[in-house]
Symmetry: C3
Subunit: 443 residues, 3 copies
């Protein structure tokens, strides 16, 4: 009777099927607890996916704000396209290539495919539930969270090539990068590939997402060349940002999204885990800002807002690999040093005439490597070594650089990657899109 | 003894009262599990309410960005007013009219009233708890989530009538629309009225919110007439958007809010349910963007940012009725086709000289109908038929159109609905508000 | 056997250690329920922390939008610095000074220190778990939520002193304010100090955060003096806001963040508690907007967007002290009256030549006092008296005013607090940062 009542109550929760074999009220209750835990774990992954989604508005805004007014529409158009095609490509190929059930080349490369089976059938298998009851989220939550991540890699490149890249060429390049290249290195670690087997540690992607994007960007920028008028025989001509409040909005939204990017990477709503990650993530971001403010004040002799903003991002990229293991006080060091690095790195790339309008190579590439090494320097995880961290981050960066270079160079040979000088001068908004971003000519 | 300890532990959770009648420790534990489930379900509704709230910033930003600079303050003022009056009106009348305990005309019309009883008394009945233990949220969560929804209907209209509507007339109209008209069609389906009894399916409101708003907008635009200078004897004169980064911010915030709009409409934190809805919602939004990019490139011969943005919204509107039942792959089709439809529809309304500055009629009205039909075309729910879906969406759209027309026309007769030509030329910001949106005249 | 199986299942949840002493399956299940409840409570605090974080973007945007174009970079730079230094200062001193384990002066002042013990050691004591099992969040969640709060106090000041304050002086002042002064009054109530012992009620900080910030701002403005050209012998010269869409974004983000600011202050995910707070908070914000719209229309003879926006904020500040106890209908009154107050207060401060470019003193200071009194006027909590509420809010405001005055005046004597007239005329962006916020000079 008691048992019957329990089943009735649990049926009301829509959880009947799981209880068919339950033999006692106690067991049923335990299963019910597991189910509620499953709900909260899953919900946090979904909220995190929404937070990572808003990073795409962050990227669009910071890139548009940091670049010239005349290229604003073009930048935003690219960002809209990337997040759209990135998610679709990830659904049709990338997800299964990154988390392979079969490898084409063992631990190195897997063939992707569309979401299959359970993922497309609401009835057959609603839960992504292992036999052991450890499931923390459904396959749909897993997919949508990872899809939001995937698109960020191509977005990082879009900032670096802004203001002179040919739209259609970039669209082809970005589609290949996000759909086919990003999942390869992803599978090495998160898909239990060769780096995972070496105990390489990259919690939320300092290397797998940020260094990947940053070094793909470096290759693309080398193929593309600098903006006209940036490097003259009279020295480097600064090209001023068009809209710093927009860039400010972008960076704060990226920071907000990072709570999902890193916090969601706990892959459950574990209280200690997620709160620890929130603290390390936020404190690294804040000290990144302070580090860059101090460094730019000393080096550039002024309190530079762009650098302060990039410093926050640098700190966030820096902590991303070890947000789960680096103690809070060490996170202050990780962030501060990332803030110093990003200012020096931006200055360095300017000096060697690598033209990166938003500092993406420094923020994501250089600080991505820094962050990956920090897991060995500051982290406390057994088995993590500086050597493997270095090997991993360089392997991923090298793969990103080489494949990005190859693809972008091939596109250059076939159809060109750069707008003509007249279009660049005029601005891509009018030249490519027939519409300026701002229209002020009102009475 | 065991039992006593359990009660002590549960008291610590502040959940004592529910356990007064519990006869065994097992039963108490089961109730405790139900209570924790209740907490998470309820929390998700609240987070969703916050997400839908931010859609109002999305609407304000996209409308201001798409219109002319000289009318920016006016647009934002209207949006601030709508969300404020919408929530207050919903509290004093709409909520109880939409979810009636008594009908004035059976299954068709109910008289509203202020929140009563439990909702206003923190002690008497803290929970919106049915006897069966199925409760997923408190009455306050229910109210605030629905209140945030309600205000969106009037906001949709505000974009379509922008740049020439008289402020006070619109304020009266919007108050009537959101408080008295929106709950009527709402009650037909979500208030268990006649459409619900016919197995009409509209999960989160492709018809009840979006088509309602879109066709109310169409009526208002017809009463109001086009902006001066838009349709000339030399053809259609495009009026350029004033601030596309602002519009971009608006659309991405709307997209973000849609995770709460659709995700919260699951009305619980059910893992499979919410994650399924996240995937269908996001993928339809993304393919909507791609569909509109492709279509506008072919039709308008350029990669149009405004169309890409409206395409994402169109895809989101399209999936809203069936986000819970349309399989993920079909969601790609729903979104893509919505993206095509919105471009053609915007072009069509321009051709027949219906002047809708932001494309609201196409995005919300036309794609709202499309989405409602998709539940029958792509969905898998037993009992849902194309005929009833068509009947439902046309009934709702017709009700919105006719009542909106009547109210707005009556206001036109009484006090006028349009600013005079001089004010329209000068811009409503200075004419109605005495303040331009941007002041650049600094040294 | 049964028991063994249960332990196995619970081990799968990673919750083994807590169960070592559990003697029966029933007890283990009850503990598992408590653990899941702990997860959801904790998660809500973290999500709230993220929501409060985004308020810093809100402040930056509203302040930049309300001020002149030429001071935009300076305003945003200050806001970035404040949130960074605020969190670091709170980690190194403020958190432990505000929630003291030992008092230096009993119930009045405690010495701070860095996060210690459990907070820095991931292994030793992962949970902030009291013996009674009542814990709702980890110490890290507690810290990061409170750290996000702390920085808001200094941010309130930054708006009031905008457009003429010397950057380095403000940076020193803000660091002292947020690190050393804010935790003192915080400890009086939330740290179980003398006001807490008197049954003073300030749920989420109408006094402790907002009146504190508002009256610190008043002192700073008095020391600093008005902007040149604001008060002339020909009367008050309005200085127009540079970017109202940016201000609109800022206010809506603040409103969004307030769901975490007040909602998170429930300190658990209690369904009735959080949903009640959502309703009172939102309705007070909405009626604040309506109250200010009506009042400004009557007083200023125009529908003023800035006032509508400040009215929403005023309503939110007004409900903050009593969001947990003031009934929903009374919240309409709290908000409406706050909306009236803020318009009259802004006008009043203008008249007595206190120059506050964003109305921070009125919104946060005056309405902070109003809100604190509302707990006695409209609230239903036993033990709360008008007398103690008045005593508490005046004590906090007086402490903020006096210490802010002393610190800022000392800085004025030592190094000056104001830029020179030439810099003020030119704008701080170019003068202090060498970079304008907007660069439009494209072909």
């Amino acid at each position: 009777m008691r048992k019957l009542l329990l089943f009735t109550a649990l049926s009301a929760l829509g959880l009947t099927s799981a209880y068919a074999q339950a033999e006692t009220a106690g067991a049923a209750t335990t299963d019910a607890v597991l189910d509620v835990k499953f709900m909260i774990d899953n919900l946090w992954i979904l909220v995190s996916a929404a937070l990572v989604f808003i990073m795409h508005l962050g990227f669009a805004s910071v890139e548009a704000g940091m670049c010239q007014r005349k290229n604003t529409v073009n930048i935003m158009f690219k960002n809209v396209f990337i997040v759209c095609i990135g998610a679709v490509g990830y659904m049709l190929w990338g997800f299964n290539a990154m988390y392979p059930s079969d490898w084409a080349i063992s631990d190195v490369f897997a063939v992707g495919s569309g979401l299959t089976g359970a993922a497309t059938d609401a009835e057959a298998s609603r839960f992504y539930l292992s036999e052991s009851g450890e499931a923390a989220y459904t396959i749909w939550s897993d997919f949508i969270f990872q899809a939001m991540f995937a698109a960020t890699a191509a977005t990082i490149v879009s900032g670096a090539v802004a203001e002179r890249v040919k739209l259609t060429s970039f669209m082809i390049y970005a589609t290949i990068l996000v759909t086919f290249l990003y999942p390869v290195t992803g599978s090495w670690e998160w898909g239990t590939g060769w780096l995972d087997k070496k105990d390489f540690a990259d919690f939320a992607g300092s290397s797998l997402v940020h260094a990947f994007g940053g070094f793909a960007a470096l290759a693309a920028v080398i193929v593309l060349g600098p903006r006209k008028g940036k490097f003259t025989k009279d020295g480097i001509k600064p090209i001023l940002p068009s809209n710093l409040p927009l860039a400010n909005i972008g960076v704060f939204l990226l920071f907000l999204g990072w709570f999902g990017f890193n916090g969601g990477s706990v892959l459950s709503a574990d209280a200690a885990g997620v709160s620890f990650v929130f603290v390390t993530t936020a404190m690294a971001g804040f000290t990144g800002g302070l580090g860059a403010i101090a460094t730019s004040w000393i080096v550039l002799k002024k309190p530079d807002l762009s650098m302060a903003l990039n410093g926050m991002l640098a700190g966030l990229v820096g902590i991303t690999a070890g947000a789960d293991t680096i103690p809070p006080y060490a996170a202050l060091a990780v962030g501060s040093i990332a803030g110093v690095i990003v200012v020096l790195s931006v200055t360095f790339f300017d000096k060697i005439k690598i033209d990166d309008p938003v500092g993406a190579i420094s923020v994501h590439g250089v600080c991505g490597i820094w962050g990956t090494l920090c897991v060995a320097i500051f982290g406390t995880t057994e088995g993590v070594t500086f050597g493997v961290q270095l090997l991993g981050t360089l392997s991923i960066s090298a793969f990103a650089f080489i494949t990005s270079f190859a693809v972008f160079y091939a596109i250059k040979l076939i159809m060109g990657v750069r707008v003509d000088e007249q279009e660049e001068h005029e601005g891509l908004d009018v030249a490519e899109h027939g519409s300026p971003a701002y229209n002020d000519s009102t009475p």
